[in-house]
Symmetry: C2
Subunit: 345 residues, 2 copies
DNA sequence: TTGTATGCGTTATCAA
DNA sequence: TTGATAACGCATACAA
């Protein structure tokens, strides 16, 4: 690979002049500039990012740390973020924390040592030590989806309390009283918020929450299946379920299929987050969706702003999306369920 | 961030000794080794990868270039690859070519300038110049999913001809003669292979291929919807469809839904590639699937082998997966279709 | 307007 | 067994 020396030699100038010229300095004569450009082209010169990074103390890379790269919500976010960042000459280093705080921290340390220009992070960190570590990082950072208590950083995500509240209220107005919540990981911000939204709405309608109907998962399909199975085989099964995310809802639907339980006739199902396959699953899911592209765009914008010289002075910003309700065919009134059971053999 | 100098100062040795010691050289006394390790720990030293990369001429990063980061097939592959590479201390730089050869080449140039240790590439390159460029790259590379004609490199993917042949044969044996093919991008290797498999099987059974029933798409859902719509509104619509990938099949299914066409009663649908939602879509898709994790594992192994000192001498290897047939409810015999239409008002 | 020299943090060569 | 020094490729302060 051609280096700056090759260009300098060919253009018969010093390497500093080449550097100056190629970085658009004013103080280079039009004549030599042309010579240098020609030389650079003819040897196919492009600066070594490693050398630039070493010199500058940071590289033109952005780290993206997510819990599950195969989750459609995150993979769409990644797609969009990469798409936007590439236009700003940033490369995206992606790493999966697997929802594990220890691993997440290890990744962050690696990214920090790589001198990435910024990090987009969907954090699963909760312990005070880890939060302190986050604070100690002097790298532009934007949190997406999950907020971290005690860490004031840019954040882009939806109003999670509202999201589960919307679904819960709808189910209650549909006549349900015995509603289960397929929740996310305990302690995780989004999970807690969604849980709170569920509880608050139940309380607002004077309904008691059966704690045994709140089962936690890791936002993955397998656990969604298992936890749903657990609640569905009970004689006092719920008449409706609020799933904390799309993939767990899918697992729950699968469980109903396997048990032969009709959705929505016997059990209504609702979920937070859209998925590419939502339109063709049967029944169509009733859900509240976040505009993942909007999240990606705002996160990218926040991050790029922070990488500017004045970026460090920007006070933490937040962009909270209002989730959108999408009515499907996965909910029905429990009256129907009762009559369905009556008519069963 | 602490540098090697800090460690040297604290341990009261020269930086070269520190480097020697920390890189596990034999010729460092146990005593000084201990001192150096303690010093390194106490200042929290970790070597600067940028400096290491500059010195070594390559960085501990692997580039992964895919057409669509949101396609579940690719996102699952990415997940698995990242998962395996992180254990080998490699970071994954991911970039989307969007199926565009020009962009793909630009990305490859960027990755090359970054001195990545290797590249996993799902290539959409076809032109001789671009192929020549691929050949000129002196970076360990493994092709996945798509082969590149004229470029002998490691390859991991499935037998695409066989994949579409399996579906086509099944449909023919079911009684179909008027079969459409929702194909991939013309000129693209997998697309051509799948197309060939379809044609060869049709020919083997003495069936003529209606060229107007071979419509090409870019493996994306939108185009799948549009192209399917195009063939489904025809009075002489096909009785069965072989979709070249999962996402396009999804689009086709959506089109049937919108038109009120029953699947499989009126039109049978089959697809190549699994998807996380395949079990809960209605009807369950009949498909041939590739084990994407196996692809990821083999690709990673091939690549890591190539990054070893002896790696360059390994002759190009291939790992061709035999696709697996998965019977769903999305196919029926055209007899049924006829009777269905007869019974229609 | 251009050139010289230094340093970014490592590794490696050669001396000591 | 350890240390001084060069080199990787670039950007920049300072000289000319």
């Amino acid at each position: 690979m051609a280096t700056i020396k090759d260009v300098a030699k060919l253009a018969k100038v010093s390497i500093s002049t080449v550097s100056l010229a190629l970085n658009g300095s004013e103080r280079v004569s039009a004549d030599t500039l042309k010579r240098i450009q020609d030389a650079a082209n003819s040897v196919g010169y492009s600066p070594n990012p490693l050398a630039q990074g070493l010199k500058a103390g940071r590289s033109r890379m952005i780290g993206m740390v997510l819990a599950d790269l195969a989750n459609p919500f995150y993979s769409q976010m990644l797609k969009q973020v990469e798409n936007l960042l590439i236009d700003h000459q940033y490369l995206v280093v992606v790493a999966s924390s697997r929802g594990n705080a220890k691993r997440e921290r290890a990744i962050l340390e690696t990214l920090a040592s790589q001198r990435v220009s910024g990090i987009i992070l969907s954090s699963h960190i909760t312990s005070p030590e880890d939060v302190a570590y986050l604070k100690s990082l002097k790298i532009p950072m934007v949190l997406v989806d999950h907020k971290v208590d005690g860490f004031a950083a840019d954040f882009v995500g939806c109003d999670n309390r509202m999201a589960s509240a919307m679904l819960t209220e709808r189910l209650i107005r549909e006549g349900h009283t015995r509603i289960a919540h397929l929740a996310g990981v305990e302690g995780l911000w989004t999970a807690e918020e969604r849980n709170q939204g569920f509880r608050a709405t139940m309380a607002a309608f004077g309904l008691e929450v059966d704690e045994s109907l709140i089962l936690h998962g890791d936002y993955d399909g397998d656990i969604g299946y298992k936890q749903a199975m657990r609640m569905l085989v009970r004689p006092d099964k719920p008449t409706a379920v609020v799933a904390a995310n799309n993939v767990m809802a899918l697992g729950a639907l699968q469980a109903m299929r396997d048990l032969g339980i009709k959705c929505p006739e016997e059990v209504s199902l609702t979920a937070i987050d859209d998925a590419p396959w939502s339109k063709v699953i049967e029944p169509k899911m009733t859900m509240v969706v976040q505009d993942v592209n909007e999240i990606a765009e705002m996160a990218t914008r926040f991050l790029i702003d922070r990488t500017t010289p004045a970026g460090a002075d920007i006070p933490p910003r937040e962009h909270i999306l209002v989730p959108q309700f999408v009515l499907g065919q996965s909910i029905a009134s429990p009256v129907k369920a009762a009559s369905f059971q009556d008519s069963a053999p």
